[in-house]
Amino acid sequence: MKRALQILAVVLAVATLSLWASKGANTGWTKNRVQVKTVDPITEIEQVEWQDKFLPGLDFLGGGLITAGAMFVGSLFIRKSNKQQQTQNS
């Protein structure tokens, strides 16, 4: 149980970090749409359109790493409680 939780915590941390980095390492807040700019050939005005796209930000990264950290720390307490249980039983 303890080992499983630790592996899960490491997988979550790596997955969060990888996803954040692969999507451009956005240092702002998480976005669910991005600007797409095109230039109107006659007026030369830059048209701004919004396109749905998930772009994880620092809140996503922080949330993932904190959850992974909490899981890992939580796993350390499992051994303690198991030992206590064994002592009580004997």
């Binding site: 669910n32 991005v34 600007q35 005005i45 919004w50």
Partner: protein, 205 residues
């Protein structure tokens, strides 16, 4: 002979007045290209967004650009940012309160320091900026580009007429417009940089 001369003079006069009259440019763009971009750069958070609900009219005379008058309106609810939750927050009662204040506008009073080179006029616009029910006189640098006969190119030949492109970048302070003055300035900057890029059409009648 006298009657003929009077007729010619009157016709000439009408033609002169017609050619010298300012044109009315409509900024409601069916192509949706017109936009206002806003940027807020606070220490903890940068917010970038845009609005495309632009409308309004501008009276412009290529021979007398200093006499330009008009009003540009942006629909408050067309303000868009990259995060849906942030957008809901921005448009809510606590911030822009778009339900009560559906328009953001700039009414031009006069153009100062007007310089024209070819089809491009640069000037300082003086006018009233209205946001969240607060009106404040501001000045902003503007660039007006008069594109004579270019409406046909833009409308695929469906309409004939001229285009007027207006560009301006200026900064306002949200505290001046009663948008949570003094609050959360580490996340939402007090300075809001606005960039307006819009084109108006004056179809030939």
């Amino acid at each position: 002979m006298k009657k003929c001369l009077v007729t010619i003079l009157v016709a000439g006069g009408v033609a002169f007045v017609a050619s010298a009259a300012p044109q009315s440019f409509d900024f409601k763009d069916p192509k949706g290209v017109n936009n206002a971009v806003f940027k807020l750069d606070a220490p903890l958070e940068a917010i970038n967004g845009s609005a495309n609900g632009v409308s309004g009219t501008v009276e412009f005379d290529a021979d007398k650009p200093a006499a330009t008058k008009g009003k540009i309106v942006v629909a408050s609810k067309s303000l868009t940012v990259g995060n849906t939750m942030m957008q809901e927050h921005m448009l809510s009662e606590g911030w822009l309160d778009v339900a009560k204040h559906p328009e953001i506008s700039f009414a031009l009073k006069e153009l100062k320091d007007v310089k024209t080179e070819g089809t491009v006029t640069t000037a300082t616009a003086v006018g009233t900026f209205a946001l969240k029910g607060v009106e404040k006189e501001i000045t902003a640098p503007v660039k007006l580009t008069y594109l004579k006969g270019k409406l046909a190119d833009r409308s695929g030949g469906q309409m004939k007429g001229d285009l007027l492109v207006i560009r301006s970048t200026f900064t306002i302070k949200r505290a001046d417009f009663n948008i949570k003055p003094g609050q959360a300035e580490d996340k939402v900057a007090n300075d809001i940089e606005l960039t307006l890029s819009i084109a108006g059409a004056a179809p030939q009648k």
